[in-house]
Symmetry: C3
Subunit: 268 residues, 3 copies
Amino acid sequence: MLELRLVQGSLLKKVLEAIKDLVNDANFDCSSSGFSLQAMDSSHVALVALLLRSEGFEHYRCDRNTSMGMNLGNMSKMLKCAGNDDIITIKGDDGSDTVTFMFESPTQDKIADFEMKLMDIDSEHLGIPEAEYHAIVTMPSAEFSRICKDLSSIGDTVVISVTKEGVKFSTRGDIGTANIVLRQNTTVDKPEDATVIEMNEPVSLTFALRYMNSFTKATPLSNTVKISLSSELPVVVEYKIAEMGYVRYYLAPKIEEDEDENETKPQV
Amino acid sequence: MLELRLVQGSLLKKVLEAIKDLVNDANFDCSSSGFSLQAMDSSHVALVALLLRSEGFEHYRCDRNTSMGMNLGNMSKMLKCAGNDDIITIKGDDGSDTVTFMFESPTQDKIADFEMKLMDIDSEHLGIPEAEYHAIVTMPSAEFSRICKDLSSIGDTVVISVTKEGVKFSTRGDIGTANIVLRQNTTVDKPEDATVIEMNEPVSLTFALRYMNSFTKATPLSNTVKISLSSELPVVVEYKIAEMGYVRYYLAPKIEEDEDENETKPQV
Amino acid sequence: MLELRLVQGSLLKKVLEAIKDLVNDANFDCSSSGFSLQAMDSSHVALVALLLRSEGFEHYRCDRNTSMGMNLGNMSKMLKCAGNDDIITIKGDDGSDTVTFMFESPTQDKIADFEMKLMDIDSEHLGIPEAEYHAIVTMPSAEFSRICKDLSSIGDTVVISVTKEGVKFSTRGDIGTANIVLRQNTTVDKPEDATVIEMNEPVSLTFALRYMNSFTKATPLSNTVKISLSSELPVVVEYKIAEMGYVRYYLAPKIEEDEDENETKPQV
C-alpha cells in the first residue's frame, strides 16, 4: 500500500517536464525515506537522479519498498491534466500492475483519478559516490538556460572554463565563435541572482549542448542551478526542489582531440 | 435590403470561430426576428444551431426573409480583419449574389468594407422539438473545455454520468483510464462558477470527444455551458450569447456494445 | 580599426529583424558619418536602405571607410543572443576577415563576444535622388502592418489610393474584395496616432502585398510609418529610428493592364 499526498502538486508536474525528454521509461523507487528515480537517458550518455524526500509530502505512506516502472511520456500526459493548484496523490496497491494519480482542486469540487498501467523495466541502480570537485558554480537557472540556448544557435558543444574571476561558456561553429563570461557576483538584491564560484583549481571541460539544453528543462523547479566540475568526473547539474530534494543530471565531458590550445585551457 | 448593425462586433467574430471548424458551408437565415443558422457538420453527425435575435442589434433591417449561403472559412477570414472593438454591419441587397461586412473603428477613423460572394447551398431546416431531459448540467464553460481536452489525451470517447451528487466524465485508452468528478456546487462567489445539476433520473451516455472538443470552440462566447442529457435524445451543449441568443450543438450518443457494467451505469 | 558602441542595443536587434527576411547577404558600410546599408532583396525587386548616424552611438570610431559583407541570417542569430537591455559594440580590425559583436549586460556581470566571418559581396551603391512625391501619408506603423496583413488574407496586391480626405487600401481575390479607408486625423491624444496626408495630386498605385508585409517587419522600430507615393517613382516606406536614422524600403508599382476603371482611379 502506497499513498503519497503532495499539496503542491505542480512540483510533480514540473519534475516530469524536467525528465521526460531525456528518459522514456524508468522505475520510480518508493521507500520510507522518499520517492526517487535514477535513470540513464535513452542514448545511455547522461544520467538523471531525482529525490523527493518523504518529509516534503503532506501524507506519506509506503508500507514496503516498491519499484514502479512507468512510461514518462504517458505519466506526463496524465499529470498535465492536473491543475497547477491541485493536490496530487500517488496511490498504489501491493502487487497491482497500475498506479493511480488523484488530483483534487483546492475547493474539493473537482476530483480526478487517472489510472496508469505499470511496466516491467530492467534497471540497475548505480552508486554515485560523493566526490570532490575542482570547481562549483552556482548561478541563476534562467541565465544558464539562456546561455545554453544562445550557444546552440552557433555550435554543438560548450566549453565551460572556470577561474576565480568567473565562468566562461564558449562555442564555435560554421558561422563563427562565441564566448560568454559571467563574473562572480554576490552583491545582488536577491540571493538567487548571485553567481558564486567555489574553486580549488581552474578547470575547462567540453560538453554536448544537446544534453545541457535537456537539463535546462528543470529550470522551473529552482531559481538557481549548481554546476559541479572536475576533470576526471562527469559534470553534475543540480536543481534543488525547495525543502524536498533535487533533480541532478550527470554528463561525461567530451574529449576533444583536435582542439587548439586556446580552447582547452581556461581563459576567463 | 438587409442591414444588421452590431455594436459589439467581436461577438460575430467569436460566433464564426465557434462554428467554422464544424461546418464548411451554410445558409444564414435572416428574418424580422433575427439572424440564424442551422447546419450539420461536414460528416453529418453533429448539428449546430445559432440564433442572434434582432433585439440584440443596434440597427436591424430585414425587408424580407432571406437565406444567404456562405463559406464559413472565407467569412471567418474576413471577420478576422475586424478589430475587437469594431462595430460590424452586415449588408445585402435583394437579389445580389454578394454580402458586405462593414467594420467601423470606435473613433470612425477607419472604415472597411469586405464584400464576399454568396453560394447556393441546399439545406433543409430540421424542426427540433422542445424536449424533456433526464438531466441538465450547468457548469463553467472553461472547466468543460479543460475536461474535454484533458480526456482527449487519454481516450477517444467520454462517458458523461449524472447523479444528484455530481457529474462524472470518464474515458479509457491504451495508457489507462481517467475519471473526473464535479460536485454540485452553488455556494460560489461568482454565479458563473457554479456547477448546477437538475436531475429527473440518473443518466450515463457516451460521446465522441472529437466533437465535444469542436463544441468547446464556443467557450469565449459564454462563461457557462448548459449540457442537456437524455438517453433517447442527442445531447444539447448550449452556450448563451448575452441578451442575444445562443449557439447550440446536438450530438447523438454512441452505442457502445462491448462496454462493461462499470462504464454504463452512473457511479458518481 | 572600427568600434561602434550602441547603448540601446535592442535597436540593432530590431534593425536586423527588419531586413533579414528581405536580404540574405549585404555589405554594411561604415564611415565617419555613420553605419549604413543599401541592398536589393534577393529577387531584385525591392531596395532597402538603412542609416544609423554616428551621433546616435555612445562611442563611434571608424578610422577609414570600410565595407563589411555579412550574412544577415547569421548576424541575426548572433544578435538574438544579446539581451534586450544589453549594450552592443561592433568591432573590426583593419584587414580582418571577421567582425565581433560584444554584448554587455547593464550590470556588467555578463560579457559576451560573438565573432562572425565576413564575406566578399559584389554590390553597387545606387544613388537615390531626392524626389517630389504626389502624396505623402504618415500613419501609425502598427495600423499599416495590420492593414497589409488583413488584405493578404483576401488578395495578393494592394491598391493604395490617396485623396485629400484619406487613404484607401484595396484588394481583390477569389473570395471577394476589400476596401479599407483611413481618414486624415490629426486631433489625437498622442501624435503617433495621427494619420496625416500631404497631397499635391491624387494618386492610385498597385503593389505586391508580399513585399509590403516584409517591410512591416520594421514596425517595432517606430510608432509611425511614412509612405511617399508618386506615379512615376517607386513608393518609399520609411521607418524613422529615433535620433539615429531610418530604414527605408523602395518598391516599384505594378502595372495592371486588365484593371477596371474602379480600381485605377482613387475613390476615397
